[in-house]
């Protein structure tokens, strides 16, 4: 099993190979990161179609932005940061077009939870029911295994804010699970 050091160095090596312009490195980058990015975006976007469109934009931004990535060792936080910004841009555009509707991103996220799938386990339902802000923190910390510092860089907030979002998310998850159980 790869250690954290190995993972960071493997990512840094991958980013450097891409910056050098090695074509095979981009295949490796996609093979390694498309799955986790898809999982992250899919959880927040709600549908496969929406996630597919957002991921295309994410990868275009990644391909165009990678020469300007200064710290190759921060590849993970950089990739998830781009995915998050792309998703937020998409949500902003989507709800800016909807006429005379009061925008409440947290409420939207709650309403967009994936209720139509029958075989979801209780925890997953509870996770889908979390507000967007808490859901992305939980996804990055528990499912994508980013460190607190990496999440703070990804979300552009202090580490303390990440901790409080995770704390609130855990409380909401406990409440949701106890209501069902």
């Amino acid at each position: 099993m790869p250690t954290i050091d190995n993972k960071n160095e493997t990512d840094e090596l991958l980013a450097i190979r891409c910056q050098l312009g090695e074509p095979a490195a981009f295949d490796d980058l996609i093979s390694r990161w498309h799955g986790p990015l898809w999982a992250f975006v899919r959880r927040l976007a709600g549908t496969d179609d929406a996630a597919g469109e957002i991921l295309q934009d994410v990868w275009i931004r990644v391909l165009r932005g990678i020469p300007r990535l200064r710290e190759a060792s921060k590849l993970r936080a950089w990739l998830f940061g781009i995915a998050r910004r792309t998703l937020m841009d998409r949500l902003r555009d989507q709800y800016a077009r909807a006429p005379a509707v009061e925008i409440d991103v947290e409420q939207i996220a709650v309403e967009s939870s994936v209720d139509e799938v029958d075989d979801l386990v209780v925890l997953e339902e509870a996770l889908d029911g979390l507000p967007l802000i808490e859901r992305e923190a939980v996804s990055l910390f528990y499912l994508e295994e980013l460190s607190l510092n990496e999440i703070a860089e990804t979300l552009g907030v202090p580490v303390g804010t990440v901790k409080s979002r995770l704390h609130r998310a855990r409380r909401l998850l406990r409440q949701a699970i106890s209501k069902r159980g």
């Binding site: 190995n6 160095e9 493997t10 840094e12 090596l13 450097i16 190979r17 891409c18 910056q19 050098l20 312009g21 090695e22 074509p23 981009f26 295949d27 996609i30 498309h34 799955g35 898809w38 999982a39 899919r42 959880r43 496969d48 996630a51 597919g52 991921l55 295309q56 990868w59 275009i60 391909l63 165009r64 932005g65 990678i66 020469p67 190759a72 979801l120 386990v121 925890l123 997953e124 996770l127 499912l143």
Partner: protein, 165 residues
């Protein structure tokens, strides 16, 4: 917990998108556009600076051409830095091409200047030297960046190999 898995079609589309995004010929087309526009602008500007007795209409036409040339230079530079971004290997190829092109242009302008005693040709040569200087700086920076990235790459490969063996 179930982990969402991307559909295979999305991955295939993505590989096609990557191939298009990273294609070298499309970058070289914009590089050629940039060099051609810069050359045209240099020649037109040299004429404007050295030909004092040009009719007003000719001066206006040349000024318009210079503005168009500068616009194309800005557009091509924008594409190469934002849309078809140059990775390090592309930068080295682009730098070499730019140095070669600017050298040929400058030598040609100097030769023409001496052969025809043309002030416009000498002015174009001066602008060619400025373009050559920019091209050399960009090539040197690209090579330095290549050296520093390659060094770090070798260090990481050694470290990872050492841990595996």
């Amino acid at each position: 917990m179930r982990h969402p898995v991307p559909p295979a079609a999305v991955l295939q589309e993505l590989r096609e998108l990557t191939a298009t995004e990273l294609s070298l010929p499309s970058r070289l087309r914009y590089l050629c556009l940039l060099l051609a526009a810069a050359t045209m602008t240099a020649i037109v500007t040299a004429l404007l600076l050295t030909e004092a007795a040009l009719p007003v209409r000719t001066s206006i036409a040349l000024e318009a051409l210079a503005v168009i040339g500068v616009s194309w230079v800005i557009f091509a530079a924008w594409v190469l830095t934002r849309k078809r971004v140059l990775l390090n290997s592309h930068r080295i190829v682009a730098g070499r091409l730019a140095v070669t092109f600017c050298s040929v242009f400058t030598i040609g302008a100097v030769a023409l200047g001496f052969a025809m005693s043309s002030a416009a040709a000498f002015a174009a040569a001066a602008m060619g030297i400025a373009m050559l200087a920019v091209a050399i700086v960009l090539l040197v920076r690209a090579r330095r960046r290549f050296a520093s990235l390659s060094k770090r790459r070798a260090e990481l490969e050694r470290a990872l190999d050492g841990r595996l063996s």
